[in-house]
Amino acid sequence: MGRVNALLAMCAGILLHGAVLAGSAADEVAVADAYARAVPPGQANSAAFMLMQNSAAVAHAVVTAASSVSAVAELHTHTMSDGMMQMRQVARIEIPAGGEARLQPGGLHVMLIGLHSDLAPGSELSLTLTFEDGSSKQIRVPVRRIAMKMMPHKMEGMQHGKMQH
């Protein structure tokens, strides 16, 4: 009996050690360039965009999101199909090992549904991202009015190639 317990403890120790070495997804995924779209008064929804970079040798994924300004936050994407833009909820947003996931207009985004108040440019909201291993990360997201000035070329993030035709 004592031997079994010792074995279990050793196993647990090894697992724990492994987990510490691997780090949590929240530690290994860095979020940059986050912003949420300012919306007209009375709008029920908005969207948040960002760049997620994974420094780990294993893939991570965001599985849920929650925000300080909306009843619900969901993971969504856009695809172009039958000549129509389709928005669909997705179960997770994968960030490949050593790679990145870009949430941007026309593609992946965090949908903020049921806004408690108007999202005014210059304000800030808090977004909690929860990863596949249960770890989570809270980020500050500035609210911006998108497309403020003339762009000589297609806005970054509007390339058709990113829309998964």
Binding site: P40, N45, A47, V72, M84, Q86, G106, M151, M158, Q159
Partner: protein
């Protein structure tokens, strides 16, 4: 002398007729029928829908260049991007050019988009953009005539149903004729150039 002259003229006429007929038979093929169908060549046309201030008809904007877009206000990304691009282009217009412009945002989600909300939604992007809608029976023929498309999709999202929709911007000239169909994501500079082309045309 005059008789032979007439004969020559008649012969020449017959020859030209045959030559023309031959050329038509050999080379003229109506490209419209082989490469395009009606769906790909939207005819556009007049319509009447509702705004917060009462009925709005396309006809009342004769003399102006109209930019027409079909969407819905709960659309979190595609519609605001398209209207944002349009507003950037319109912001570049001179006061004189702006006087000759009207934007129309047609909501294909009359169930959720009130006329009051459509008014503020359009104006948020630019005061010259008017939000309008109508019931499905009135919307569908308009959507079809412009070659647009939409469909309601049930979803598990907290949003309830979603709407898939085409995202072209339709430019209508001063005479009410559909002149240009701009693809989704057309950059503001290209939108501006297209608007100016149509604004430069006399009515």
């Amino acid at each position: 002398m005059s008789v032979t002259g007439h004969n020559r003229l008649a012969l020449l006429a017959i020859f030209l007729l045959i030559a023309t007929l031959g050329w038509v038979l050999l080379y003229w093929s109506p490209a419209v029928q082989t490469t395009l169908n009606l769906r790909e060549r939207p005819r556009g046309g007049d319509f009447v829908l509702d705004s917060h201030a009462g009925p709005v008809s396309l006809q009342q904007f004769r003399g102006k260049v109209v930019a027409l877009y079909f969407g819905y206000t709960q659309c979190p990304d595609v519609c605001p991007t398209s209207l944002g691009f349009l507003s950037l282009a319109v912001n570049e217009l001179s006061a004189e050019e702006l006087a000759g412009f009207q934007g129309l945002f047609v909501s294909v989600d009359p169930e959720r988009d009130s006329l009051a909300h459509l008014q503020s939604y359009g104006a948020y992007f630019h005061p010259s953009i008017l939000g309008i809608t109508g019931d499905k029976a009135r919307l569908d023929p308009i959507v079809e005539s412009y070659g647009a498309a939409y469909r309601k999709v049930e979803s598990a999202s907290a949003m309830g149903y979603l709407i898939d929709h085409s995202s072209e911007t339709y430019l209508i000239d001063r005479n009410g004729v559909l002149a240009e169909v701009l693809a989704h994501g057309t950059p503001p500079v290209d939108l501006l150039a297209a608007l100016r082309r149509l604004l430069a045309q006399p009515q």
